[in-house]
């Protein structure tokens, strides 16, 4: 399941619910992305994520489907914030459950790379230095390209 969330998220609670009463799962890997106080030397007061409710979730659902198709998973949860996010607060939470750890590690890594480069979300940082819209870094694109290189040819 994937969802866009306007209110603050609690990764510990999400993970506790995700792992509760699992008897078929041998591995759960989770990732939490937090809002940093500074990026590239720029102080950040507030992070704001613009989204396109409806469309953003539809694309995120497609990314979930692609992740489930590629890896042998039992379950997957991704929750992404939009709107204002305070420094230190979670921006994104991903958890994947699998029978064995390798699929879980790789699926979490893959889904995060896809969310960063394909989910229709736009980050803005406001701080003492002014307003800055964030674009994907070359490293984000390189991370995502790792998976393309290993995708089977149709």
């Amino acid at each position: 399941m994937v969802r866009l969330e306007a209110d603050p998220i609690d990764p510990a609670a999400l993970l506790a619910r995700f792992t509760c009463d699992r008897t078929d799962v041998g591995a759960v890997v989770s990732f939490t992305g937090l809002c940093r106080a500074a990026t590239d030397g720029h102080s950040v007061g507030t992070l704001t994520l613009d989204a396109w409710p409806g469309y953003t979730e539809r694309i995120m659902a497609g990314l979930e489907a692609g992740t489930r198709a590629r890896f042998d998973l039992i379950d997957l949860l991704a929750v992404h914030r939009w709107g204002e996010v305070a420094v230190g607060q979670p921006i994104v939470f991903v958890a994947v459950a699998a029978t064995h750890r390798r699929a879980a590690f790789e699926a979490a890594d893959y889904l995060m790379d896809r969310l960063k480069t394909r989910a229709p979300l736009w980050k803005r940082e406001d701080g003492p230095g002014g307003r800055r819209w964030i674009e994907p870094r070359p490293s984000d694109l390189a991370d995502a390209a790792r998976w393309t290189r290993t995708e089977p040819t149709p």
Partner: protein, 78 residues
């Protein structure tokens, strides 16, 4: 007239998020948007996304009066 949506820095630069604009192709709409020099600069950058009726398109295509056309900068989630 097609409904045009802007997201992220595009909406910020233009000072609006949604309006109807006369035009029967994506390029015609881009030309109208580009009358705003700051928006023209943003639209011309590589990686600009164009989404017609919630389907991403590359290059030009025809749009009708009931269509919804969105322009956005490269995404930056996660």
């Amino acid at each position: 007239m097609p409904r045009v949506l802007l997201f992220g820095a595009f909406a910020d630069v233009a000072g609006w998020r949604e309006r109807t604009i006369a035009g029967d192709t994506v390029e015609a709409l881009r030309a109208v948007l580009s009358e705003d020099a700051r928006l023209a600069d943003r639209l011309a950058r590589p990686g600009t996304l164009t989404v017609v009726n919630q389907i991403m398109v590359r290059g030009d295509c025809a749009v009708g009066p009931e269509d919804e056309v969105a322009f956005a900068p490269p995404v930056s989630g996660g």
